[in-house]
Symmetry: C2
Subunit: 242 residues, 2 copies
Amino acid sequence: MAAKATNPIPSVWARRREPEQPVLSRDTIVREAIAMLDADGVEALSMRKLGARLNAGATSLYRHVATKDELIELAVDEVFGEIPVPDPGAADWRSNVAMTCESFRATTLRHRWLGSVIGQAGLVYLGPNLVTVSERMAALFSAAGFPEPSRAIDTVLSYVLGMSTTEAAFLTTVARSGETEAEFIARLMPSAAEAVAGHDFLADAFAEAAADAVANPAALRDQKFNYGLEVILDGLALRLPR
Amino acid sequence: MAAKATNPIPSVWARRREPEQPVLSRDTIVREAIAMLDADGVEALSMRKLGARLNAGATSLYRHVATKDELIELAVDEVFGEIPVPDPGAADWRSNVAMTCESFRATTLRHRWLGSVIGQAGLVYLGPNLVTVSERMAALFSAAGFPEPSRAIDTVLSYVLGMSTTEAAFLTTVARSGETEAEFIARLMPSAAEAVAGHDFLADAFAEAAADAVANPAALRDQKFNYGLEVILDGLALRLPR
DNA sequence: CGTCGATGCGAACACTGTACGCACTGCGGA
DNA sequence: TCCGCAGTGCGTACAGTGTTCGCATCGACG
C-alpha cells in the first residue's frame, strides 16, 4: 500500500528530482498558455496539452486557475501589459495617441487570438494592466484639453480594436494556408473578382487595388490603418476647445 | 435481415409520416442555427442540439453543410442581409452613412454572437450579402465625391464593428447574469470603484458617469456610439474635395 | 420492375473541460 | 521525535463535442 505497483521499491535515488523543473505556478501557467495561443491559436489551447508542456497533468492546473476562461482572462491582461502609453509631456497629443494606437495594433497582431477573445468576453475584465492603459490614455487626452476624455478613448480604441481584429483574423487565415500573404492574396484573387463582378463600385476598387495588394500587402494594411486613424484624430481635434 | 430488430414488423402504419415536418434543407438549417445562436450564444450551438431541433439526427446535417464552420459562415452572411443601406439619393451622405452604421450596430446587438465570430474568422467571407452591403456603401461614398471610397468604408466599419462587438459582449454578460442592465451595473460598481482607485483620471470619469450609468445605461451606450460616429464623419468630411 | 443517386442516421473515434478523491510532500506544534 | 495538516499533483471518470463511415431507405427514371 505504501509502494505503488509502478514504483515497487521506493529508494532514495528515485525521490524528488522534478524540482529542477520550474514548479507549477500561476505565472508560469499563464506565460506558457500565451506561448501556445501565439503558436496555434485559441482553439488549439487545451488544458491537457498545456499541462503536458509544463510536465504536469492536465488537472493539476486547476490548483492555480479556477477555469479555462479565467486562464484566458489572465492571459489577456498579461498581454495588455505589453502596450506602452507615453507620458503626456513626451510629444504633442496627436503623436502620443497615434503611438499608443500603433502599439495596440502591434500587440493585437503579435497575439492574433486577442481580438477574438475580446470579442467573446468584452472589455469587462478590469484587469490591472488594462486599467493602467486606460488611465494613461485618459491622462493623454486630459492634458490635451479634451472635455470628455473617456469618450475619445472609447472612439479610438473601438476603431483600433475593430481594424486590427479583422487584420489578425485575416493573417491567421493566411498563416494556416502555409503561404505568404502575397501568395495567398494572389490565389484569392479569382474568386474575389468573381464575387465583385456586376458590382460596379467594388469592381473599380478591386481593379485599382489588385496590383498593390500582391506587391506589398503589409504596406497596404499599414496605409489602411493609418488613414482611419488620421480621420479619427482629425475629428477629435475639432472637439478641442477654441 | 430485411427488418431491423428495433422495427421487426414494417407495417404500412409505421411508414413515412415525417414529411409533415418542413424537410431538411440548407436554408432551414441555417435559419434554425441563427435562432439557436440568438437564444444561447455561440458556444451553445452544437450539431446534435441543432439536429434535435429539426427532428433530425445530428449527422444528417452534414448532407447539406460541409462543416460547422461553414454553417456559421452561412449564418453570418444571412444576417448581413438584415442591414439595409439607403440609396445615395435618399438623403445627404452623412445621414445615409449614419443610418447604415446604426443598422449595422442594431444587427450586431440583435445577434450578439456576430462580433465574436467575425473576430475569429475575419471578414474574408465574401458572402453575397456582405458584398452587397459593401457595394451599396461604396455607392454612398462615391456619390458624395470621396476620392477613396473603400478607405472610408474600412474606417467606418472598423469603428462600428469594434464598438458594437464590445457592446454585444457586455450585453451577453448581463443577460447571463439574469439581471437587468442597470442592476448588473449597480452590482459591478463596487469592484469597478476599487479597480480605478488610485488612478486619478479614471476615478474622475467614474465619479461623473456612475449615476447616469445606472439611471439609463442604454441611452449612455447610444451616446457613446454616436459620439464616435460623429467624430469619424467629421474627419471624413475634411477629406471631401474643396 | 430494377437500378441509381440522394438522403437520413446509428455507431464509433478522438477530443474536450472539469469534479472528485486519493497520494504524497514539507511544515508547525506537541 | 512524532503527528496532523494544509497545499499540491494527478488518475479516473463523466458528459459533451465535431466529424467519418457504412448501412438502410427513399423517390425518380430507364
